[in-house]
C-alpha cells in the first residue's frame, strides 16, 4: 500500500515543529539570561540547590561515589525531570509492547499476522528504548560537562576511574527507579486501551467498536452469547454475527475463550489473563535501569577519562 503524499509532508513538518518547540524553552531562557549572570557562570558560588539532598545522602551507609551520585540530580530538578521523563516514556513503551506482544495472538486473525505484529512490537520497543537511552545520554553528558570541575576535584582528591563511573551512573539511577514506579502502572493501564484500538483498527471501527469491551472492569464477557453459531475464520479465529454485526473472536481453538467473549483479553479482563508474568515485571524494572545505565555509560566514561588537570581548569 502506498503511503499518502500528505504523510510525506506532514511527518517532516511535525518533526520540525517538535524540534522547534523543544528548543524554544532553552532558547527563551538563554535570551532572557542577564549578561552578568552569563559571564559569571561557573565562577560565582552556585545557588544552594541540592544541599539538603547531599547532606542526607552523605549520611547513608554507602560509598561516597554512590551517595554523591544519588544526590546530584536533586541539584538540577528540571534536568532530572527531563531524564525521568525520557526513561518513563521508554519504559512505558516497553511495558506496552510486552503486554501487547503477549496478547497479540488473541487479537489477530492468523499466526502469520501474529508473527508480523509481534515482530513489529519488538522493533518498536527497541526503537523507543534506544531513543530513551539516547535521551538519557544527551542529558547526562550535558550534566557531566557542566560539573566537570567538580569531577576534576573528586579525581584530584583520589577518586578512581571506576568510582567516577559509579558516581555518574548513579545520576541516572534515582530517576530510573522513579520512572519504573510511574511507567509500570501507566503501561499496564494503557495496554488494554491500545489493544482495543488495534482490534478496532483491524476489524473496522464501524463493525466492532460497539462490541469491544468498555473500560477495564466492565465485564465484556457478560455480554449475551451470540444467537448464531460461530464459524471458523482464517487462522483459527472464530467469526460470528451478533446484532447484525460481524464479530471476530481471535481466540484460537482451545484457548479457553468462548464465542462472544471479548476480542481483547487484557489484564483483569473477564478472562482473568494478566498478560504480564511476575518475571516480566522484574525484567521491565531491570529494563528501566538498563535504559538509564546505557545512557549514563558514555558520559561516565567521558568523565572518568577526562584529564584531571583539564577538568580542574574548566570553568
Amino acid at each position: 500500500m502506498a503511503i499518502p503524499v500528505w504523510i510525506d509532508i506532514a511527518a517532516p513538518a511535525w518533526m520540525l515543529t517538535l524540534a522547534g518547540l523543544a528548543a524554544l524553552l532553552p532558547a527563551v531562557r538563554a535570551g532572557r539570561l542577564p549578561a552578568v549572570q552569563a559571564i559569571t557562570a561557573g565562577q560565582a558560588p552556585r545557588a544552594a540547590r541540592g544541599h539538603a539532598a547531599q547532606r542526607l545522602a552523605g549520611r547513608l551507609p554507602l560509598p561516597r561515589p554512590v551517595t554523591a551520585g544519588l544526590a546530584t540530580p536533586l541539584a538540577r530538578p528540571a534536568r532530572s525531570a527531563a531524564t525521568l521523563a525520557t526513561i518513563t516514556i521508554g519504559l512505558t513503551g516497553a511495558v506496552l509492547a510486552v503486554g501487547l506482544s503477549s496478547q497479540i495472538t488473541k487479537i489477530v486473525l492468523s499466526i502469520g499476522q501474529a508473527y508480523i505484529a509481534r515482530a513489529l512490537f519488538q522493533r518498536l520497543t527497541w526503537l523507543v528504548v534506544v531513543l530513551a537511552a539516547i535521551g538519557v545520554f544527551a542529558t547526562l553528558l550535558m550534566q557531566a560537562r557542566e560539573k566537570v570541575r567538580d569531577l576534576g576535584i573528586h579525581k584530584a582528591l583520589g577518586m578512581t576511574p571506576r568510582q567516577v563511573i559509579t558516581m555518574v551512573s548513579c545520576w541516572a539511577i534515582a530517576p530510573a527507579i522513579i520512572a519504573a514506579a510511574i511507567a509500570l502502572p501507566t503501561g499496564v493501564a494503557l495496554e488494554p486501551v491500545v489493544a482495543r484500538a488495534i482490534v478496532s483498527a483491524q476489524a473496522g471501527p464501524a463493525e466492532n467498536a460497539p462490541l469491544l469491551p468498555g473500560p477495564r472492569g466492565q465485564a465484556a464477557g457478560n455480554a449475551r452469547p451470540p444467537r448464531q453459531q460461530p464459524r471458523a475464520a482464517p487462522g483459527g479465529a472464530v467469526r460470528y454475527t451478533r446484532h447484525g454485526k460481524t464479530v471476530i473472536n481471535a481466540g484460537p481453538p482451545g484457548s479457553g475463550q468462548r464465542p462472544g467473549q471479548s476480542l481483547f483479553s487484557g489484564p483483569l479482563s473477564i478472562a482473568g489473563q494478566n498478560p504480564y508474568t511476575p518475571g516480566e515485571f522484574v525484567l521491565l524494572v531491570l529494563a528501566g535501569l538498563a535504559i538509564a545505565l546505557a545512557g549514563a555509560l558514555g558520559p561516565a566514561i567521558w568523565a572518568a577519562t577526562t584529564k584531571t588537570t583539564t577538568a580542574l581548569r574548566a570553568e
Binding site: 558560588p45 552556585r46 544552594a48 540547590r49 541540592g50 544541599h51 547531599q54 547532606r55 552523605g58 560509598p63 561516597r64 544526590a71 541539584a75 570541575r149 567538580d150 576534576g152 576535584i153 573528586h154 579525581k155 584530584a156 582528591l157 583520589g158 577518586m159 578512581t160 576511574p161 571506576r162 568510582q163 584529564k307 584531571t308 588537570t309 580542574l312
Partner: protein
C-alpha cells in the same frame, strides 16, 4: 639526603614536537623539607607540581615519591597514590560548593574508606586547629577567601599525606590573609610536614621555605637555601600529620 621526592631527568611536553614545559629536570626534596618553586608564568612550576601529585605523567624521566615510581602507575593506582600520599592545596581552593565545610574536609577520607567515626574525629581536630570549627556546617560560598583556603588545607591533611603540595596558595587572597596562610603552612612544616610550594611571591618563598628552586623555560635556573621554614610559632595545625 633522605629524599622523599625525586625527579630524575624529567621532561614533559604537552604537544609532540612542541617546546617542553619541563626539560631534563632533576630535583630531590627531603622528608620534612619546605621547598618553594618559583618562576615566571609558563616556566613549568605547575607542571612540576602536577607531576609530583600524579595528576599528569612525564614524557620522559622518572618521578619517585616515598619510594614509589609515580610515572609508571595506572590511573587507578595514581588515584590511590593521590589519596594516601599527597595533600593538594589549590590557588582557587577547589572546594565543592554543594558540600558543607565538614563534608569537604571528609571527602578524601571517604574515598579512602576510613571508618566514619575516625574520619569525623580527625576532621573535627583539624577544623579546630585551623580555627574554622564554627563553620563546619556552613557552605564554602559563605566563607571568605582565607577561610576557604583553611578548609582546603584541612582537607589536604585529613589522610595524613606524606607530601603537601600547594599551588599558589596565597594567590587568591588579600595580603593579610596570605600572611595567615603562609604562617599556617610554616606551622605545618615545623610539625614535620614535607611541603612543596609553588609561588610567584619571593617574599613567601623567602619566609616560608628552606629552599627555593627557580624554574625558567622548563629548566632549573637556581636552587638556593633560604632562611624560611624554621620559625616555631608554638601552634601545630598539622601536629597529627605524619612526620
Amino acid at each position: 639526603m633522605n629524599a622523599l621526592i625525586e625527579l630524575s631527568e624529567v621532561t614533559k611536553r604537552y604537544a609532540a614536537g612542541g617546546a617542553p614545559a619541563l626539560e631534563r629536570v632533576t630535583l630531590e626534596v627531603a622528608a620534612g623539607e619546605a621547598v618553594a618553586v618559583m618562576g615566571p608564568s609558563g616556566s613549568g612550576k605547575s607542571t612540576l607540581l602536577n607531576l609530583v601529585a600524579g595528576l599528569d605523567k612525564p614524557t620522559g624521566g622518572a618521578v619517585t615519591v616515598a619510594g614509589q615510581r609515580v610515572d609508571t602507575l595506572s590511573e587507578t593506582r595514581l588515584a590511590r597514590y593521590r589519596r594516601r600520599q599527597v595533600g593538594m592545596i589549590f590557588q582557587f581552593f577547589n572546594l565543592l560548593d554543594d558540600l558543607t565545610v565538614a563534608d569537604n574536609v571528609l571527602l578524601p577520607a571517604q574515598l579512602t574508606g576510613t571508618p566514619r567515626r575516625r574520619a569525623r574525629a580527625r576532621c573535627g581536630e583539624l577544623l579546630g586547629q585551623l580555627g574554622i570549627a564554627r563553620y563546619k556546617d556552613s557552605y564554602p560560598g559563605r566563607l571568605s577567601g582565607g577561610e576557604r583556603q583553611r578548609v582546603a588545607i584541612a582537607r589536604s591533611l585529613i589522610n595524613d599525606p606524606a607530601v603537601l603540595l600547594a599551588d599558589e596558595p596565597t594567590g587568591a587572597v588579600d595580603t593579610a590573609t596570605g600572611e595567615e596562610i603562609g604562617q599556617l603552612l610554616l606551622d605545618l612544616n615545623a610539625a614535620g610536614q614535607t611541603l612543596v610550594l609553588v609561588t610567584h611571591s619571593p617574599d613567601l618563598a623567602a619566609r616560608y621555605a628552606h629552599r627555593t628552586v627557580r624554574l625558567l623555560d622548563g629548566r632549573i635556573a637556581g636552587d638556593t637555601a633560604t632562611a624560611g621554614g624554621t620559625a616555631d610559632t608554638g601552634r601545630r595545625p598539622g601536629a597529627g600529620a605524619r612526620p
